[in-house]
Every structure is written in structure tokens, then in C-alpha cells.
């Protein structure tokens, strides 16, 4: 808790104040009054929620279909939170066309520099950024080799599971390993609107021996569904769920190329497992839970009838028990 350190500082400050101003002459009454004021200040400090946590809590409560708009609103209230919020709040992804390859890629905070985005296909920022910034932000060597190979794999995976849509993967180096993000976006066509955005953020810590690595995955799926018909004027089911998982996985082979391939396989499998799990969860929440809550609010069967049925059922059970 950040407030704890504040509280400790305040206690220290007040003690110094007591010693400095009152010296040895402070009577008990003055000391008590000052201590009382101090306690009030402490209570106030403790009840003040951390603004960043409050921003996240607010975004978890307000309609998920307006997350982007609410995020902009919160930032206008608290510009100091902008960087932290942009890197921790997932919003629906946007796609851009790569001018070099002619292929679409996805944009997020991880391939962004100012208003420029890096294409995973060309490895270049569009619009171009300063060469000294590019030297720092454009991955090279093994990280870029793994990124290319992960993009190729994710592309195949996307075609098999999404049968369309856009995918992109971005990697960057860390001191003891690397980090990355795998993105998918699919928009439904035809009757009813629908959109799926998945955002998988990974952190990979490699063992010194490079025989295994620790993978940490945080995944968010943003699922937006809607229907409008003559029988239901409109039904909106929109939202996002986030889940985390960690795993120690082995890396086969001694050659660098085998280690790199091992990472791509491990990441691919983890993302596939997570998406399959989350798809089931989304199905349960969107179509099971929402329907159950409506049923809890209102019963189609008259409640007196339901009560009679229950009583009759209880009687049958008790007769059978005799």
C-alpha cells in the first residue's frame, strides 16, 4: 500500500515537530491535542484510494462498450495517469496497412512510438521515426528472428481458428529474456454485429543454461456482440475478461536456432491453450450467466405455480423415502 509509507512519514514528521517545538516543556494536554490531529490526518490518508487503482476500478464498472471514451475522460481528469493507463488498459485493436508488404497489421501500445506504428511484416515504423529512436525500438538479431517466426506461426493458427481476421506478434528484449504480445482481431459479418480482439502479453525469463524458460502470460479478450430484431429492439452483450497463467517449459536442442524455435512452439501452445480456455469462459459468462441473472430477476413461470411444483416434488421424494 502506498499510503503506508505516507503514514510512516507523517508519524515521523509529527514526532520531530513535537520534539522541536515543544522541547521538554510540552505539557500532556498539548501533546494529546497534537496526537489527536495527527490521527485524523492519518485516517484521511488511509481512506484516500490510489487514483490509478480507482481509474482501473472505474473502467471495470462502466459500460465496456465505451472503454475508449471513458479512458479519454479519466486522462482528461488526471493527465498524470496517462502513461500508466495507456499501457495497462486494453482497448479494441485497430488495423493498419503495411505500405511495404501491403498486408494488414494490428496496432497497440507495444508497437507504438508517438503516432507511428511498427509493422511486423517490414519491421519499419510508419510514418518513419528518427534513426536514433529506431535504433533503440526496432528489434534485431535473435529477437527479430523469433518475432518473424512467431508471426508466421500465429498467421497459420489464425487461419485455422479464425478463418480470417488479422494477427500480429511483437517481441522486445529484456535483461534476462524477452517479452512480447500476440494479437488477434476478427469482425463478424452478416446478421448481428460482432467483434473479437485478443491481446496476449508475455514475459519470458530464460534459465542461464537455455534448457528451459519461465513464461508468464496475461490474456485479455474483448468480445462485443449485438443483435437487433423485431422481437428484441436491441440486445448488446459487450465486455472483456482477463486471465493469467505461468509455466516452466523446456527448450529442446543446443543450437541457437533450436532454442529460438523452442520459444515459438512454447508461446504458440500457451496462447492456443489460453484462447481455448477463454472461449469456453466467454461462452459461459455471455450466454449462461447473463441469461441466469435475467431469470433471477424475473421468472417466466408464475412463482406461485413454481412453489406448488416444488411442494409436490418434495412430497413425492418424501413418499419414496418411506
Amino acid at each position: 500500500m502506498p499510503t503506508t509509507s505516507n503514514s510512516t512519514e507523517l508519524v515521523g514528521f509529527a514526532l520531530l515537530y513535537l520534539i522541536y517545538f515543544c522541547g521538554g516543556d510540552a505539557d500532556l494536554w498539548t501533546t494529546l491535542i497534537i496526537l489527536d490531529d495527527l490521527l485524523e490526518i492519518l485516517e484521511e490518508v488511509d481512506s484516500m484510494a490510489d487514483p490509478f487503482d480507482a481509474a482501473l476500478d472505474l473502467l471495470r464498472r462502466l459500460p465496456p462498450s465505451s472503454t475508449q471514451q471513458n479512458l479519454t475522460g479519466i486522462i482528461s481528469l488526471r493527465p498524470d495517469l496517462e502513461e500508466d493507463l495507456l499501457s495497462s488498459v486494453d482497448v479494441a485493436l485497430t488495423a493498419r496497412r503495411c505500405p511495404t508488404s501491403g498486408r494488414d497489421y494490428l496496432c497497440c501500445d507495444y508497437n507504438r512510438d508517438g503516432n507511428s506504428y511498427r509493422s511486423p511484416w517490414s519491421n519499419a515504423f510508419e510514418p518513419p521515426i528518427e534513426p536514433e529512436d529506431a535504433a533503440e525500438l526496432v528489434p534485431g538479431g535473435r529477437v527479430r528472428r523469433m518475432e518473424e517466426s512467431l508471426n508466421a506461426g500465429v498467421d497459420v493458427y489464425r487461419e485455422l481458428y479464425y478463418e480470417g481476421g488479422v494477427s500480429s506478434a511483437y517481441l522486445w528484449a529484456l535483461d534476462e529474456g524477452f517479452a512480447g504480445v500476440v494479437l488477434f482481431k476478427k469482425t463478424a459479418s452478416g446478421a448481428g454485429k460482432g467483434g473479437w480482439d485478443s491481446i496476449h502479453v508475455l514475459e519470458v525469463n530464460e534459465a542461464a543454461t537455455k534448457r528451459s524458460a519461465h513464461y508468464k502470460l496475461t490474456s485479455t479478450v474483448i468480445l462485443d456482440l449485438g443483435l437487433s430484431s423485431s422481437s428484441i429492439d436491441n440486445l448488446d452483450l459487450a465486455g472483456n475478461l482477463t486471465r493469467q497463467t505461468q509455466s516452466d517449459l523446456s527448450l529442446g536442442g543446443f543450437r541457437e536456432a533450436e532454442v529460438e524455435q523452442g520459444h515459438v512452439v512454447n508461446i504458440g501452445r500457451m496462447v492456443e491453450d489460453m484462447e481455448t480456455r477463454m472461449r469456453n469462459l466467454l461462452q459461459e459468462v455471455y450466454f449462461g450467466k447473463a441469461k441466469d441473472v435475467v431469470g433471477d430477476l424475473r421468472s417466466i413461470q408464475p412463482l406461485s405455480e413454481a412453489e406448488r411444483d416444488k411442494a409436490a416434488h418434495r412430497e413425492v421424494i418424501s413418499k419414496m423415502g418411506r
Partner: protein, 269 residues
């Protein structure tokens, strides 16, 4: 660019069922100086969401809406013939006073109050209803709100019904709105609304509430069907549960391949 004041007001107006106090606590932490400007937003939220308050000195709950507003923060309840003051920020009622129903439809309001309450308890385990004069006393409004909050399980829900009965033309129109919020490690919101035009079935209180129950049953059945339509339609079309091959991806083989080649697994050699 929206003002800070309208930004925080929009947060209040969009608060999910049962979570207004959480939203206000968040606003306090983010922009403490804007909280005092929220009074109009609280009033709008309470009147639109049919917020229920406990009548002072009674165990009865009554709902707050534009239909039973007397102005100056006072509202009235037809059933107990009482008016009361509402503190919109704390959602508490105080200063009750006698308030006899002053309407040419006083008898109709009384009998609708009885029938609508009875009909509501047949379908809603917990609900609050209100019958008020509407459209400058030419019509009668029938309102219902049902809330179910389960914050320990991270979900809350609200059902609102609004019907306007015009006794002279025998017309009965209404709107049903349902909101559900689920927020365990996420934020999922369902909102739906439906406008209905009903026959008033001759205009007697019993006939009117019978038509309403019939229409609400039909709407709920349609809503359940809509869930299935979305699950079987749009949702399935976004991401498959398994590839067409019914096999998971063989990531070991994926690296060197390019799209268009058969790497989907399930290949027999």
C-alpha cells in the same frame, strides 16, 4: 473536449445496477473537487433508474422517477398517499407528509396499484411498483423496478418496466429495459430494451396487468432465444472451438511453413 464536470456526470449516469457508490468513490479518488458538481447527475440517475428508497417510518420501499416528482427534491407515493424528500446523493428519503392522490383517475390508480403489485409478485421475487398520473393527468403511468445484487459473486442486475395507459383512448404502450453486469476479472455488460404496444384488454385494471404479464413473458422468451442466436451465430463465426481438422495446431511443424500449405495437423502419412 468535454468539461471535467460533464465527464464525471457521464460516469455517474453510466453506473451499473447497484454500483453507484463504487463509481462515486472512484470519482472521489480521481477528481475530489468535481464531486460537489454531481447533484444533477445523481438526480438524473435516480429518476431514470427508478431508485428505490425506504419510506420514513415505514418498511415499504418506494421508487423515484420523473412521474412522481413534485419538484424541489420531493416525490410522492400513491399507495401510502405520502410525499417525501429525497437526498439524491445518499438515496435516502425523509420529511414524509400526507399527499392525497389528486387526479381524475384516483380510483383507477388505486385498483391498478393493487392488481399490478399482485401481478408483479407472481413473476418478480423482489420488485417495487408505482402507479402515478402521467401526461398532465390524461394518462396513468405503471412503473416497475426489480434489482438483484450479488457483489460477492461479481454480478448485479436490474429490470425496469414503464407503461403508459390512456383511459380515454384505451391505448397501452411501454418499454422494458434489462441491465446485467458481470465483473469477475473482467467487465461484461448486457443491456437490452424493447418497446411494446399492447391492447388494454377493455381497460379494467385486471385486464391491463394481464396483458403486461403476457407481453413480458413473450419478451423474456425472445430474449432467451436471442442469447442462443448470438451463441450459435456471431460468436461461433468469430473464433472456432477447434480447427476444421478437429486437431490442435502442431506448433513444431509450423515454423518453416507458409500459409496455403497443409500444416493443419490431422494429415495422415
Amino acid at each position: 473536449m468535454a468539461s471535467k464536470q460533464s465527464t464525471v456526470a457521464s460516469f455517474v449516469e453510466a453506473a451499473p445496477p447497484g454500483e453507484l457508490s463504487n463509481v462515486v468513490a472512484d470519482i472521489k479518488a480521481l477528481a475530489p473537487s468535481e464531486v460537489q458538481s454531481l447533484e444533477p447527475a445523481f438526480k438524473k440517475y435516480n429518476e431514470e433508474q427508478y431508485t428505490t428508497v425506504k419510506l420514513p417510518g415505514s418498511s415499504e420501499t418506494v421508487l423515484v422517477s420523473a412521474y412522481n416528482s413534485l419538484g424541489n427534491g420531493r416525490y410522492f407515493d400513491s399507495a401510502s398517499q405520502t410525499s417525501f424528500e429525497v437526498d439524491h446523493a445518499s438515496q435516502k428519503a425523509s420529511s414524509p407528509q400526507q399527499h392525497p392522490t389528486d387526479s381524475q383517475h384516483a380510483d383507477l390508480i388505486r385498483s391498478l396499484q393493487k392488481s399490478f403489485s399482485a401481478a408483479a409478485s407472481e413473476h418478480f421475487p423482489s420488485s417495487t411498483v408505482g402507479i402515478f398520473p402521467a401526461e398532465s393527468h390524461s394518462a396513468v403511468a405503471l412503473l416497475l423496478v426489480a434489482n438483484k445484487y450479488s457483489p460477492q459473486n461479481f454480478w448485479n442486475g436490474r429490470w425496469r418496466s414503464t407503461y403508459i395507459l390512456n383511459p380515454s383512448s384505451n391505448s397501452l404502450t411501454g418499454t422494458i429495459k434489462v441491465d446485467v453486469h458481470y465483473y469477475e476479472d473482467g467487465n461484461v455488460r448486457m443491456s437490452t430494451s424493447k418497446k411494446v404496444e399492447l391492447s388494454s384488454g377493455g381497460g379494467s385494471a385486471e385486464a391491463v396487468v394481464r396483458e403486461i404479464a403476457k407481453a413480458e413473458n413473450k419478451f423474456q422468451e425472445e430474449l432467451n432465444r436471442a442469447f442462443t442466436t448470438l451463441a450459435e451465430g456471431s460468436f461461433k463465426g468469430l473464433r472456432r472451438q477447434l480447427p476444421v481438422t478437429r486437431q490442435r495446431v502442431e506448433w513444431e511443424k509450423i515454423g518453416g511453413y507458409r500459409l496455403g500449405q497443409d500444416i493443419g495437423g490431422g494429415r495422415t502419412k
